[in-house]
Symmetry: C2
Subunit: 411 residues, 2 copies
């Protein structure tokens, strides 16, 4: 890519994201939904003015979501995150098991082999947390209990995703699973996150101390972002996702006394970079699959429809694993619903191994897009709802819920 093309790309992203974000906002929808739609209009599904596979675009989008999760980490109190640790783990586990089981059963019922069923189930498991974080941030709900649970569950979900990826990769290549490798991968990912939190905390304080002694301007924001990039790189090298690293960096710097200055200076940088990520997601959506006049799409859309329901219901029910009346289970469930790149990677591994057919892959692509686009409005509606459930159903099940909650969490 040369400079004029990069400038055109960035102008289109900025103008498109801001114009459609504003429009979404005016009609009561989350801003990020407008940014996603801007991507669809400008990308492969629309005017084809943006190439979502262009190297620079992909990298800037990656930097965008890294900065978004860094910003989120800065605004998150790590103690509150640890408080909801076990509940989040339960949410993550249920949110992986149910969609996997659903996808697996669906595939078997439709006569696919066990191997295909495993890939299809796996593709539905991994949450893509960027969308949720952005919606909650725009709504000023990043400090809510629900946000904490979603964030901690997303970290757990990423590590579970790594394990699943290792399993499906082994199944796809050699046809058998290597338990030792899986233990290694898990230990590395968990170890990295714990180390990033513990060492990150120590280094963050040292870093701020050093920065306070410098005389040149801009050192705080530049060093903070370098720190976030360093932990992102570490996470990548540990097999985890870069955003897990930048989130950990944010958590660590969030405990230093400079966190407010960093957050303030980071804001304009985030304004510039994050729309690139969301427009890129939209630009990747190929609307061709959604064309009902193309008969080849019918089977894809029917399969996608089933998988979409399984994917949504599975994550929605995962919210129930919180078992706490003060927390909106539906908000947590919807917050975990968006799927993205990781699911596509699973399906891609299966496709390369000749297990997942082109049609099934297309169905997975459609499901990822649907969960991504459906989550922001549902999440906004769910957040706006009054906290105490008033439905007859909730009233009816309340005694049972309380008993189960006491049983599990011992309250």
């Amino acid at each position: 890519m040369d400079l004029p093309h990069l400038l055109i790309t960035l102008i289109l992203i900025f103008v498109g994201a801001k114009a459609l974000g504003e429009l979404a906002n005016r009609i009561g929808q989350p801003t990020v939904l407008g940014e996603l739609v801007a991507g669809v209009i400008l990308g492969v599904g629309g005017l084809k003015l943006l190439d979502p596979h262009a190297n620079v675009f992909v990298l800037l989008a990656d930097i965008g979501v890294i900065i978004l999760l860094f910003e989120t980490g800065l605004a998150t109190d790590i103690r509150e995150l640890l408080e909801v640790g076990w509940r989040s783990l339960a949410v993550a586990a249920v949110g992986v098991i149910l969609p996997f089981a659903g996808g697996f059963a669906f595939a078997l019922a439709f006569g696919y082999t066990n191997l295909v069923a495993i890939f299809l189930g796996a593709a539905l498991t991994a949450t893509s947390v960027g969308i949720t974080v952005r919606v909650l941030s725009d709504l000023g709900k990043l400090k809510s209990k629900e946000a904490k649970i979603i964030l901690a569950a997303a970290v757990a979900d990423d590590i579970i995703g790594l394990i699943i990826l290792a399993v499906v990769r082994d199944l796809g290549i050699t046809g058998e699973v290597h338990p030792l490798k899986i233990v290694q991968i898990t230990a590395l990912a968990v170890g990295f996150f714990v180390a990033a939190i513990v060492l990150g905390n120590i280094f963050a304080k040292q870093l701020v101390r050093i920065i306070e002694k410098t005389r040149t301007s801009g050192t705080l924001i530049v060093a903070s972002i370098a720190f976030a990039f360093l932990l992102s790189l570490g996470a990548e090298l540990a097999g985890s996702a870069a955003i897990i690293g930048s989130f950990a960096a944010g958590l660590a710097l969030g405990r230093t006394h400079k966190f407010e200055v960093i957050a303030r200076e980071l804001k304009p940088v985030a304004y510039i970079f994050t729309p690139i990520f969301f427009v890129k997601i939209g630009a990747d959506v190929d609307l061709a699959y959604f064309n009902p006049f193309n008969e080849a799409n019918h089977a894809i859309l029917v399969v996608a429809g089933f998988l979409f329901v399984i994917a949504m219901v599975g994550k929605l029910l995962s919210g129930a694993a919180v078992f706490d009346r003060r927390i909106k289970a539906t908000t947590v469930g919807i917050g975990m619903a968006p799927r993205g790149e990781v699911g596509l990677i699973f399906a891609e591994v299966g496709r390369r191994a000749g297990i997942v057919t082109a049609d099934l892959f297309a169905a997975v692509v459609v499901v990822m897009a649907l969960t991504t686009f459906v989550a922001p409005p549902l999440l906004k509606a769910s957040v706006a709802r009054r906290p105490r459930g008033v439905s007859l159903l909730a009233w009816f099940f309340e005694p049972a819920r309380r008993r189960v909650s006491n049983l599990i969490w011992g309250r």
Copy 2:
């Protein structure tokens, strides 16, 4: 480039720029000199950890200098710029004519052909204003009279550079000059700048009015940068340099009542992007040419030494064209001294056409590097000097200077 490599590249740039920038500052040197040296250490001349030709690195560096000149435009009052217009034009003209004549004469004296002499002269003409802007900005002197003259002269210099490029390109390819094409190029470049200023002013006000009505956050900074990118793109398409466009965008937005908010929010973005540009310049410097133990370098270094003196003296004398006692002629002259990419483009055209030999090209590369590295400390020293000249020489020539000044500027 993949994400881990981009992260490593950015971490190295940020840490290197900040560490050596701070060090430079501590030993009384301009911060940007430290950033340049960081680039040399990390780039092709040193540890080879940074590849200055990597597409993403090049593009981010371009964005860096675009944002730097946008920021400069925001801080510059266009009326004060127009006030010094004619003086700046004189500075630009002398600063082009003297180094060209010097390079040309030197080449002829050493037995080169007319054609070689023209290319060598041309390579010494074009100022690279980024370094100067950054030094003056760090010293808080961006609003000085000298800065105004340098900025306006840099715009004129860019347009003169376009004309020279057209001439040398024609000479290199067809061996003859097409006057009509040169008139076209000049008209387009001048026309673009005038149109960008006039129309930019109107659109900037409209843009701010629209932004004030939006409800989503971050619109002001994102739209402002999109505006800067749009004019940068326009400048590129008009054959001019992208930084001329972003400078014009800054001038236009600087006249709106939101300019302070834009400048404040732009600051962290500039802190992130501008070091990428300066580290890239340093990373491009190939120290191999400077090795005196390599006999092949002797001729190159001798030629480079002569050309360096011609390049420096030519621009230093251009400062004298200001003919105003209240303005430091040496500051203006040194400010115009750094050469960069444009000069290399001229030499490259000559090399491709088989006119400039590899050794001469290497000498030009060395001269560009020397002018770039020598300018920041000289500029800082010159700015710090007391405004009124106290030297015997200045006292001796003062009556003559005043007479010439009256003759030219009619005061």
